[in-house]
Symmetry: none
Subunit: 401 residues, 2 copies
């Protein structure tokens, strides 16, 4: 039996409230060997107090050594094995711009490219045209009509866009048309099974019409498509955990990921202040709240150690406002590490703080990577964080008599 | 999808160098409760410095409580789940004497035995005849010819030898002919499927001819065979990790294991000094080096605590010579524990030291079992050591966007 089936059978409802506060890319690394990480450097009196009362640990999002993207990182935090539940590239791209895929939709990531007079690719990214230019070209492509299916073309950034086909009997086993090389024409789309063959034929028509529409463009006169994928089949928070769940997030990617697991999206907050206000307004209506805080990741990706420290401190200042609402379980963690040192996501385990009245003392005095190593949760796979949250919320009954 | 397939897709090449220094049987135990282990007793200033700069942890080769042999112990370190990738007894015996099995070969472990006039086993080990005697008898068996297959008979030690059949359409589902009892004749070989039936028939002919050749021998006038097995189907280091990998090992078993995963064998070093010299000579040509150091295991198996301490100290003195070459990632660990106290391999987790510029501080001050328990790698399955090595070497890209 799948582990989720076991879990479902143990779930029992109550009145408790769980808050999962995800500081994106929270985990860090020292700038020089022997130094402190960003989280260890930050002055975080509120999280430190919670660390003393609660339990710390280190989570491994995927497997040791594996650096997760935002998709797998969040799926793991939401309780889905990120090696089993995979979001295809096209589906993730659509999710990232807030496009809500329906079951049966097929999404692909598109790149505008430059073709020579023979139809061979000269520049795979069409000189990275400005986003405004991308929007203009997408408007052209939106005039394309295909039989039986509804088409969506959405601009992303620079030369990137998303193509979605909506209709019945489509498949996602279609090859990338991007040859990953210049001097050759884009590949023909081909399907590996009958539904995907149908998709490939429709995609070929789309490409052909697009070529005509783009023919006069100086840079973006062609396109490639890759990562054909359907909406991933994820059991919802309601089905799995019996939770009325909501997301309070600013950025489309995280709002999209939350929608994939059936969370409601609350408001259109633009910053942490507005997120807290949104949380307060909807507090009575939900059992579970996912709060996403982006800036610990973006400052890490900028390689700005000091700015990441500051963003952690800003987050710390928000903690009392969450506590005021009276959550039964508050978790503060990240979906992965983003050390300023590396200017990118990394494989390092992610510090976790779980605060509830049912925590054992583990002797941790502050919230940081070194303390978390000694914490009561030990090192564990992030996919087990949700069961721990449910347990501390009194929402899981005994397994076996 | 198999985890290895995921890993393969994440691998990207770079110029980094990884060294895996395996001190066989490194983990130990105190001679009396509350005491220090061999590694904790040893004076290891070089490894201690690396412990301060790097990350420690404890690896579990197979599962908690399971004592691995050299085969599973090394497979785990090389990144193969030792419960999934199994080296059959015959194949391991062949590997252990440096016999390079080809795909399709079938290997079995042979024991000379003593039979009475009725053909019943009197001594399953033929009085443990000397190895020289074994070699003489093997020369006799080498005169045997069978239709369609090439035969290899190789002496091992005392009453043990290896039989290899090379030909097409052979199978390894053949029963042991050793009845594990005296007073009864050896069992007839039988195959469980058509290729194995073919193998069993050939083996029966071999046994029959061998009986005639050995008829006049006073002790070793019979033989039994067991552990029929093919070369295990292991994806190579090149396929899995994109690494040009080489082994610098003295003993045939470890050289053989390295060959099974596609490592090149460098030189014929006879001691650590020569191993370091070999490493230095080939440094530019490879991305990954497996150095095997035997004496921490052999002294442990001798029950010689002091000697094991000394051998660890000798290894510590070699560490600066490895560092001089400028590895990006240096790992020092064992394939299992061999506490002098037990005079044998054991199930105890194995201390791991991973040193790279991308390590977080974990507060560990020296390389030893107690410190490693508090290390940043936590307790983890040894099969994830290679992904960690690749990650710290910058050789793994993000999983999912």
């Amino acid at each position: 039996m799948h582990w989720h089936e076991v879990l479902k059978q143990l779930v029992e409802p109550n009145e408790s409230k769980i808050v999962l506060l995800v500081a994106d890319g929270l985990g860090g690394a020292p700038l020089s060997p022997g130094g402190k990480t960003e989280l260890e450097t930050a002055h975080t009196p509120n999280m430190d107090r919670l660390a003393q009362e609660g339990t710390l640990g280190m989570s491994i999002p995927v497997k040791p050594g594996i650096t997760p993207g935002s998709g797998p990182g969040h799926l793991a935090l939401f309780g889905y094995d990120p090696l089993e539940f995979v979001i295809g590239r096209g589906a993730l791209e659509a999710t990232g711009i807030g496009f809500e895929l329906q079951p049966g939709d097929i999404a692909a990531r598109g790149n505008f490219c430059t073709l020579d007079s023979q139809g061979r690719i000269v520049d795979r990214r069409a000189g990275r045209i400005p986003t405004a230019e991308c929007r203009r070209l997408v408007e052209k492509l939106r005039t394309i009509r295909l039989p039986e299916v509804e088409l969506f073309v959405e601009p992303v950034r620079e030369h990137r866009f998303v193509l979605v086909l909506r209709g019945s009997g489509l498949g996602d086993q279609v090859n990338d048309t991007d040859p990953q090389a210049t001097g050759v024409p884009p590949l023909e789309p081909q399907g590996n099974d009958p539904p995907s063959q149908k998709t490939a034929q429709l995609v070929a028509q789309f490409v052909s019409q697009a070529r005509q529409l783009l023919a006069g463009e100086p840079q973006a006169n062609g396109l490639t498509l890759r990562g054909f994928s359907a909406r991933p089949n994820l059991p919802s928070y309601k089905e799995l955990y019996g939770l009325r769940a909501a997301a309070v997030a600013v950025y489309p990617m995280y709002r999209g990921l939350a929608r994939l697991v059936g969370m409601d999206l609350l408001g259109q907050p633009q910053n942490l202040q507005e997120q807290l206000e949104t949380l307060r307004q909807h507090w009575p209506q939900y059992d579970f709240f996912f709060l996403h805080y982006k800036y610990t990741d973006s400052t890490g990706e900028d390689g700005n150690f000091e700015a990441k420290v500051e963003k952690i401190q800003e987050l710390d200042a928000a903690v009392p406002h969450i506590l005021e609402l009276g959550p039964d379980v508050l978790i503060i963690t990240g979906d992965h590490s983003t050390p300023s040192l590396l200017r990118s996501h990394s494989w390092h385990p992610v510090p976790v703080l779980l605060w509830a009245k049912t925590c054992r003392v583990d002797g941790c005095q502050s919230f940081g990577e070194q303390e978390a190593l000694r914490g009561g949760l030990g090192q564990f796979e992030a996919q087990y964080l949700m069961p721990l949250a449910l347990a501390h919320a009194g929402r899981l009954t005994k397994y076996g008599a």
